[in-house]
Amino acid sequence: MNSERSTIIRKKDLSLWERMYIPEIVKGMKLTIRQMFAPTFTTQYPDERFQPPASFRGRPVLVEENGVERCVACGLCSRVCPALAIEVQAGETELGKERYPEKFEINMIRCIFCGFCEEVCPEEAIIMSQEYELAFTKPQDALFGKDKLVVPIEKVQTRLNFLRANR
């Protein structure tokens, strides 16, 4: 055993008053009582909602413009995704963009909210929205198809403006 290492060297001898710990407790309580009258830092969550700034990276969504999603199913987001969460299947369309995602699925259990899909997208079609309340009761619920992913452009306008200013 390392008895030479565990010898006690006490530099100052404590008086009885100090040994009673009372000054320390009073000092601690003084601070605690002061904090009771200080402004609070917490928010009452279900009643008060946190408003994320424009830079916030929430749930990824597909931008819908003029009733149709912007995505041209190039598959870059699916390739760049470090967690392999995105699955895209392309189909042909009569519209000017020629290709559209027949199937676009994000597995929200896999998604790590890194924002690479948004960064790599040439069409600004996949955007990190401000939604942060993501709770599932079943793993199947976490597979977000086009029905859940497509949102109108007005809802993500702040994020689009932020990306234009910062890229």
Binding site: M1, I9, T32, F56, R79, I112
Partner: protein
């Protein structure tokens, strides 16, 4: 702890009683192990004879995963998840290594922003370390004050890069985007707000007689043992070794700032005890504030993505780059075979080396002191197991 009973206990009739060592499992669900660590304690009564740490509960194949990425950029979100309370410094280490491999120079504004972010992250990480250490010892209040201040740092990070914990902010050759215009005034405001809080925290916890009694002369780590086990960071500096990679192996632009390396001096007991490791962390926060204040004054204008390469394809070769993370020396060893994917990445995590010394410093301690010793090492299991 001061004296160890060596004479075997005897019964009333004078017969020698046989004593046995007992094995006690601490963890993996023990709150004081800060994650999923199992400490197998061999105890003789109340005295700890041996400690065997069992790790690997949080192993996520970081190194193997990196070999299967499509490019170097994709590694960065994974480095975030190694040391999840100090993500910025993990990214910092990786981008420093990758940039050395690519031989690219990043713009000066990028270096300044990276240093500001890394130092803010160091404060946030030390606040967690100090706060949870208080909880381990039995002081609940400092924990709440630490988290209140940490929240302000996380707000700064959130307005910059959009995430509060896993940032993905530093990219190879630059940053994901520039700091917003109101970042600098808000960061200055934070520095002014936080400085008196360090003193408040020290009054409340560091010099508290109960806290000193629990930590001084406990878990003494002599300097030679610390060096032999490869300890780094506050663990090594707490033992009185004057070694900080920011000063001794400068990376980025740390040589432009005036600041001091904090070393444990054994003010309350022996050099290298738990209290020394704690005070090194508390004083490092002051020094980090000094660095941030200087960096905020000097930060130049410029583009933050000037050097961002479109395709990262380093020449065949290898590189080892190390930085000072809040826990110590964080190194990345990258081998490139000329393709867009790293051939091999090895991360040298400081928490792993720091944890390995636990057996050495807790022999002869009481079981209750084990909590104080394990807390003072400040491990993050995400980094130990990777």
């Amino acid at each position: 702890m001061s004296e160890i009973v060596t004479t075997p206990p005897t019964s009333s009739t004078g017969r020698t009683l046989r004593t046995e060592e007992m094995i006690l499992n601490m963890g993996p669900q023990h709150p004081a192990t800060h994650g999923v660590l199992r400490l197998e304690l061999v105890v003789d009564g109340e005295i700890v004879v041996d400690v065997i740490p069992h790790i690997g509960y949080l192993h996520r194949c970081f190194e193997k995963h990196c070999e299967h990425m499509t490019n170097y950029q994709q590694v960065i979100p994974y480095t975030d998840r190694m040391d999840y309370v100090a993500s910025m410094t993990n990214e910092f280490g990786f981008v420093v290594a990758a940039e050395r491999l690519l031989k690219i120079q990043v713009p000066e504004r990028v270096e300044y922003i990276r240093v500001i972010m890394a130092e803010l992250q160091r404060i946030a990480s030390h606040l967690i370390a100090i706060g949870t250490y208080g909880i381990d010892i039995g002081a609940f209040t400092p924990f709440l004050y630490c988290f209140r201040d940490r929240e302000k740092i996380l707000d700064l990070f959130e307005m910059t890069c959009g995430a509060r914990l896993l940032y993905n902010y530093m990219w190879v050759g630059g940053l994901s985007h520039d700091i917003p215009p109101d970042f600098i005034p808000k960061a200055k405001e934070f520095c002014a707000y936080f400085k008196p809080n360090i003193k408040e925290l020290n009054d409340l916890l560091t010099y508290n007689e109960i806290f000193v009694k629990r930590t001084a002369n406990v878990g003494v780590l002599p300097a030679d043992v610390a060096i032999n086990y490869g300890c780094s960071g506050p663990m090594l500096r707490g033992s009185g070794v004057d070694w900080d990679l920011r000063r001794d192996d400068p990376y980025s632009i740390y040589n432009k700032f005036a600041w001091d390396v904090c070393v444990g001096k054994g003010e309350m007991g022996t050099v290298g005890d738990c209290w020394d490791r704690h005070i090194v962390r508390a004083r490092e926060m002051e020094q980090s504030i000094r660095i941030i204040e200087q960096a905020l004054e000097q930060i130049p204008e410029g583009n933050v993505q000037a050097a961002l390469p479109k395709r990262i394809r380093p020449n065949p070769g290898e590189v080892y780059a190390r930085i000072e993370s809040p826990r110590g020396e964080l190194g990345y060893y990258i081998v490139s075979d000329g393709s867009a994917t790293p051939y091999r990445i090895k991360a040298r995590s400081p928490a792993f080396s720091n944890l390995s010394v636990i057996n050495e410093i807790s022999k002869g301690a009481m079981i209750a002191d084990m909590v104080a010793i394990a807390g003072s090492i400040d491990i993050v299991l995400g980094e130990v197991d990777r």
